[in-house]
Structure formats: C-alpha cells, structure tokens
Symmetry: C2
Subunit: 392 residues, 2 copies
C-alpha cells in the first residue's frame, strides 16, 4: 500500500502554535531563569489537602462514573454560593457551569456567542488563549488598548460611535494577563452599561481575582449586568491538574454551552470536581491557604518590581504588580524586546516579548515577566542578568 | 438597566440535546429498569486500585501542575507500548495523543480533518456522539448500513462509484454502539485499502475492543494502514472519571490536534493521567481486572439475549452480543419502538428506540438495550416487562 496522507482541513492553514508555548520549550534549560512562563508555583499547591480530598472522594464509587455535562451537582452548588457572595446577588445553580479549565469556557462561549465574521473586541495586548479561540471561531478581532485603569472604555465608545457593533467584548478585568493592570470600578460599571445599551456580551475572564496583594479588586463587571458572563478557575488558587474552571451565565447561554460540551468531551471528572468542591467549601482552610499564596506571590512581585526599578529604572517603566502573576514593562530607551530575547537567553534569562500579545499595536518595546515560580533572590538575579544584556 | 439578552450564535439554531441524554433523565426513577443507558458498571470499577494510584501520583507535586497538551509523557509511553502490541508495529510516542475522553479526540479530529461541506460517512445506525460532532463541523453526513459483519463495504464502494469522495469514514469497528456487531477481518482490510486508494481518512473508534466475551475482535483496521486513525479509551475498562481517551495518528494529525487542544482546554490532568498510566502499565493486575469485567458483562449479555429469545423470539431478532455493552433488536411484527416507549416506561422498563441513532434509514422497529449495569435477574425481569407491554 502507498503511504500518501489524505489532506488536513483548511482551517489549520492559518493556525500556529502559541509563541509562549514554543518559548517555554526553549527555556526549560536548567541554567536559564525563565520569567517567560505563566504557571502557578506547584510548591504552594495544597498537595496534602488534595490527597485527603481524593481519598474522601473515592469512598464513593459513583465518583468514578460519567457525570453531568454541566458539572457535578455539589460542586455547582458550592460555586453558586461562592459566586453569590462575589456578585452580591443570588446566583442559581442553573447559571453555574463547570468547564475543563476556564479555557474550555472561553472556547465553548466563542461558539455559542460568536457567528463567523462577527466583531469581537479584546484588550490590546491580549490574553493569547482568548485571541486564538475567537480567531478560530471566525470572528473579526479588534483590540482596544489598556492603561493603568484597565480597558480604555473611551476607545471602546469611539469604536461604537464609528458604527462598529461588537457581538462580544472580552476582558481580563483584574490583574490582567499580560498587562498587569486592574479595571477601575467606574470603568466596570461603564462597560456593563455599554453592553446593555448596545446589546453585546461581555466575557469577564477572572482567573487571578483572588490573587490580590494589598487590597482586593473592585466588584466584578458581572455584578453590574446579567449580560456579563463571568469566568473563573481553581487552577491559580488550588491546582491546574484538577482542570476545574467555571462560568456564571444566563440559563440560555449555559444550555447552549451544555449542548456543545456534549460533543466536545461529554463531561468533566466527578473525581477532580469533588476534590475541588471539598477544598472550595472548606472556608477556614481556604482563606488561610489563599492568604499564604498571596503573601508569597506579593513578596516575589515586590522583589521583581523593586529590582527592575533599581537596576533598569532609567530605561524602562513597569507596572506595580498589585496582584496576579505578571509584571509588564515598557522600555523607554528604544530597546526592541524581540531582538533582545536571544541575547537575554544567552545571558540566562527569559521573558515573553510584548509582540507575542499584540493585537493592533506592536508592543515592540514591552515585555511580560512572571514572578510566581522563582524566589526573591532568583528574581533579583534575573533582573541583574537582564540589566547586563541591556547595558552591553 | 434593562435585562434584554444579546443574541446567541446562529450555529445553535439546528442543535438539540441528545435524545439519549434526555431519555436518561426521564428514566432515573427508581421503579424503572433502564436499559436505555450506556454507562459501564461502577461496581466493577477498580476503586481501591485507583485510590492507591492516586496516593502514589500525589507524592509528586508536579502532578498538580499543567501538563503537555499532547498528554503526560509517561502515559503516552505506556499507550505507545500498548498500541504497538495491538497494531503489531512500533508506534512512536509522537503518534499517541491523549484526549479528555475519546469524545474529545472525535471532536478535535472533526475540525482537523473535515472542511465545511465535506462528505463524512458514518455507519447507519450511528454513534450519536460522532453524528453530532461531524454535523457541528459542517460536514455533509451520509450513512452506510451495517450487517452482521459490520459496515457494508459494498455500500461504501457503491457510494464511491457514484462519484462521492468522502473526506473521512467513521467506524465503531468492534462491538458497535448501537448495533452490537463487529467488522470482519476481510472488511477491515478492504476499508483500509479503499482509504488508501481514494485518499480518505478512516477514524476507527474503538472504546469496546477489550470487552470481548468469547474471543477478541479481529486486528484493528488501523493495523492495515497509517491513514486509519485509531481512538480508544480508559473509560470502559477503568473509569470514565479519569477522562482518559487517546488516539494513534500520523504526526501531522497529532500536531493539528495539539494546536486545537491548546485553544479548547490547554491540557488534560496530569493527576488522572498518572493514575491511568499506573493501572494500564500494571499488566498482571489489568488482565485479571478486565477478565472479570468481561466475564460479568458476558453473563449479563447472555441473560438478556436469552430472555429476549425466550420471551419475544417470535416477535423480534436480536444480536448475539459477543462483546461491548449493547444488544440491538429488530421487531419483526411491525411494532414501532418510539410509539411503544411511553407504555414501556409505564410498565417500568426503558430502552432507546432505533430512531435515536438513525442517519438515513428510520429504524422504526429497532431498539438498543444496554446490559452492563443490571444483574441477570433484573435483565430477565426487564424483558418480562417488555413482553407484557408488547403482548397487550
């Protein structure tokens, strides 16, 4: 027999691997301090508590069976209570849908809410996983810039005034990836009002909201309107391998996502969903655990930002890192961060160039640094290496 | 603020919930013996062995972290060895891709291999999860009938001779869901030859291959050609909540699926993937475990088929149930199984009417019965109730 391969679908033609993922592979060398990643610190994940929860979950054989597409009932109930407190309204269980990480919620929502050719507005620079999903859904993706108060709502209004009609606006409202900033309360309210006035969906993607260092982020955009769909996740506060994300959305949206999830993967894991439910319902333990993660990430963020200002303050400006996992910096001396990267790697330090997150603007002088997985001394050493490359 | 909801995407217009899932919800009443399900028996799932594996997996904190999109490396290695033995050739790890159940493999493959408007051939009656996925991908879906030797390859040839050019042919080659039959060795070879000659993909969906009762199924279709992509799963032999399915496919296909999986859900769970790897690599234990499942399912299948022939043999013909989870029967007396269902439920027995699996033919006199989750006495009682409804 011949070994000629039948063709692949045309929709693959434009797709390429995420720049961040490819970079991560390059920087796995032990002698490189990588600030290029985007992983939570596995040393801070509650391994022993998860082990206890796993043992408890396995006491019931029905945790080994298929579960509901919308998620294991008791987890949805725990999440409904949690989100009711967060949103300051009573969230019914029917409006909570558990997904395989919040990336799956994004991916299924793109299919449920976006027709091919429809306009989707994202923040610029953007979360790459959102860009990829909306482009794959055939959307026309337009970026709106961010400043220190988050998405520039004035730029969104200008876009609408020009006659553009978004089907959906995506925002990482708190401790933005990659831009580090948090949307102000006034802008949150304004965004929700615009959505209602002009009939578009907002997807508020909030994996980092619990990781505040000095004070929590303002009330979610979703607290202002039911047309704002809120996504969150256990990956950053508990463990990514539970693969538990969730969304809060109107019933019609949840039912659309349910139909698509049946085709996508039938259902999630009742086993890891019970583990997540157990930990998220253990209020005293959870508070102490998340407080510890906040404190350690906060120290690391402060060390990174401090070192950047000490060593490179004359050449760049960086965000304050009030929460989340990332610091964003812009070189003011014309340094091109994509050009710099190979030399930085030679000097034993890696980051993600701003261009990897670019939608409309190029972000040629910007970079994203992740502070979660290195201790403060290592972060200072990383900045020292970066300073020596730039100073060459 | 108003509460007017923005519109949902048009692609939802034609979608509806799976008839089987809706039925399952109706027949959860305790007084109904439901043969309508399609679940493995959770009493036979290796709970204690999974608990030991979970404990071992959690000894390493990195099992809590994100993992590779293609699957946790050591699981892929275990699967490569397993599939090398099955396919009688050396399967490299790069050609093994772990998915969130084999449903996710189907769903991602539909996007990687099928352009909108392309022809996809499925078996008629069809696995509903495949139908749903190919229709959602915009394929033109055509059914080819099955007989006691599986897919009617002569009907496929006739289709091709009429000038039709399939992009993909989907088959549940062993112990078909819903039809119960297994494709003969001659037809497997013929299907692979046709795929190579006419340049189409075959997706061989094989979740039931290990569940044979008297003798194993013939060598996989995939053993005859690399243009045959093989899907399998741990759900039916270990536990669905591990959410571990996998595919064996050429490298270019795996890389396409990898790009799409990054957008779909980033990655699977390193925790449940290590549990699956542990159990699948424990050869002695696995053989004893699967032997036990085979023996018990075999007894149940024989009881169901025996009772059908005893009580209803003058009115219907049923498959032999040589493996898998389902018996298919056709009424020969004109009974309409969709019309009969409400009365059957009134008499305390449920099944899935053939029409739920119909692609081209209506299957109005057919029904699918699942024998995995009831003991032999209960199965006989179910047939007794069915006989009393039919006899009314």
């Amino acid at each position: 027999m011949s070994s000629i391969m039948p063709p692949l679908a045309h929709r693959l033609d434009g797709l390429r691997s995420s720049a961040i993922r490819d970079l991560l592979k390059l920087t796995a060398r032990g002698d490189i301090i990588s600030l290029a990643g985007g992983l939570p610190d596995e040393q801070l994940m509650p391994r022993d508590r998860i082990a206890r929860a796993a043992e408890a979950a396995l006491a019931d054989r029905s945790r080994l069976q298929y579960t509901e597409s919308a998620g294991w009932g008791p987890l949805r109930a725990v999440l409904a209570a949690r989100e009711s407190a967060r949103l300051d309204r009573s969230v019914p269980v029917e409006e909570v849908f558990v997904t395989h990480g919040s990336q799956q919620a994004l991916s299924l929502l793109a299919e449920v809410l976006v027709d091919p050719g429809a306009l989707v507005v994202v923040e610029d620079p953007a979360y790459v996983g959102a860009l990829q999903v909306f482009r794959a859904a055939g959307a026309r993706v337009v970026g709106v810039p961010l400043d220190a108060e988050g998405m520039r709502i004035d730029a969104l209004v200008e876009l609408i005034d020009r006659g553009e009609r978004p089907a959906l606006v995506h925002t990482v409202s708190s401790f933005h990836n990659p831009r580090g900033v948090t949307m102000s309360a006034d802008r949150r309210r304004a965004l929700a009002e615009l959505a209602e006035r002009h009939g578009f969906w907002v997807v508020e993607d909030d994996p980092y909201g619990d990781l505040w260092f000095d004070g929590s982020a303002p009330a979610p955009v979703a607290s202002y309107s039911p047309t704002v769909i809120r996504l969150s996740s256990a990956s950053k506060i508990l463990a990514p391998s539970l693969r538990v994300g969730w969304m809060v959305a109107p019933d019609a949206v949840c039912r659309g996502v349910e139909l698509l999830k049946q085709g996508a993967d039938l259902c999630g894991s009742a086993l890891t969903q019970q583990i997540a439910a157990d930990l998220l319902a253990d209020a005293g333990w959870l508070t102490a655990h998340v407080d510890k993660v906040r404190r350690i990430y906060g120290e690391r963020a402060a060390a990174l930002v401090g070192a950047l200002r000490d060593r490179l303050g004359h050449r760049l400006v960086s965000t304050d890192a009030a929460g989340g996992m990332f610091v964003w910096a812009d070189f003011t001396d014309g340094t091109d961060t994509a050009d710099l990267l190979p030399r930085a790697i030679d000097h034993g330090v890696a980051y993600v160039p701003g261009s990897a997150f670019a939608v409309t603007r190029p972000y040629r002088h910007s970079l994203r640094m992740c502070f979660t997985t290195a201790d403060t001394a290592t972060l200072c050493e990383a900045v020292g290496r970066l300073a020596s490359v730039v100073g060459e």
